[in-house]
Amino acid sequence: MLDKNGIAKRIAREIKDGMYVNLGIGIPTLVANYIPEDIQVVLQSENGILGMGPFPYEGEEDPDLINAGKQTVTLLKGASIFDSAMSFGMIRAQKVDLTILGAMEVSENGDIANWKIPGKMVKGMGGAMDLVASAKNIIVAMQQVNKAGESKLLPKCTLPLTGVRCVKKIVTEMGVYEIVPEGGFKLLERAPGVSIEQIRKATAGKLIVEGDIPEMVI
């Protein structure tokens, strides 16, 4: 089983040189720590940054410079700032190559739910609906089972949807999955030490296992 950092490390391997990437809150934010040093990636933050850098050194926080998670950040050389309409404009126009975000549920046809638990949690969707509706490549970083031990990879989402048929890939503590066009979680890789049997038990939706499934390289 991977921990959060393990999931982030595995996702970092999906990032290629020259990509523009939007990282959501939570595990996706950790991905930035594992981007190989020999490639250059431009991080987009949907409140209006291209070229987001790491957190500032203590004492150098600038209240006017935050990311979409409201955290103080810095800018890298070559960064640019823009308003929220342009920010979501470039997202809708698919100029952002890769979007990585968390989820509460994903269904076997690629639907995602991550913004609302009726009667309970009402934080709002923020930019997630725009991101999932537009991104050309979406990877979901999530725990495969909830605290009650129930699978979050489902035949159909039970929570209100954030977007439909949009997720391309999922990385969890147990494996890497691709959503196939005809519907189903196609297992691509197992986390170190995790068996197919364990994965089967933790996948409520249709699991597709074809041939030998390699262990992840992290």
Binding site: G59, P63, T72, S84, A85, G126, P160, V164
Partner: protein
Amino acid sequence: MKNKVFKDAAEALHDIKDNVTIMFGGFGLCGIPENCIAELVRKGTKGITAISNNAGVDDFGLGLLLKTRQIKKMISSYVGENDEFERQMLSGELEVELIPQGTLATRCLAAGYGMPAIFTPAGVGTEVAQGKEVRKFIFNGQEKEYLLEYAFEADYAIVKAWKGDTMGNLIYRSTARNFNPLMAMAGKITIAEVEHLVPAGELDPDQIHTPGIYVHRIFQGKNYEKRIEQRTVRKRN
């Protein structure tokens, strides 16, 4: 020239009545019109429909107007940082309309650019699409469904800029830009508070983010607290 310069928030907001729709610039606590929010609390303006990406925190930003129950309805994309908000919303005291962040931004842009409606894929197939017109377009090499969303019109837009001049031209600083230029364009009356008010001619025409034609009133703000919501830092090594 008709004077756009006002002395302070009290003067600039002098005619705001109860039950109006107000856009508030800012993202989280970043780039929010602190002086105007404080003045609305002081005035006790009631029944506000607030269009703002966020709802502030319990004791700062729009949270101050929520605490005093001055806000009747919030139109936002994310309100996760405010317990009082969540309480009022779940109890039904506060009317809330949650809309995607990009939709919010673009509906403001649409108003400022005189476009009555826009198309966006955000929310297609979700509860956001309920009752809305869905239309297929072939664009960018794909056939895809889009929602028709209407331009936002507001009685007032209240924004915060870094620098402004006496003609109403505005320049924002870093990510304090966010929704401010969009809302500045969308208000029937737009009021800007700025950290530095300078005479016309001191700002480079090529660097102005909001041309003065969109701004009706401007004043030099004071005592900016600029509270940080999530102070994240790294240690020097």
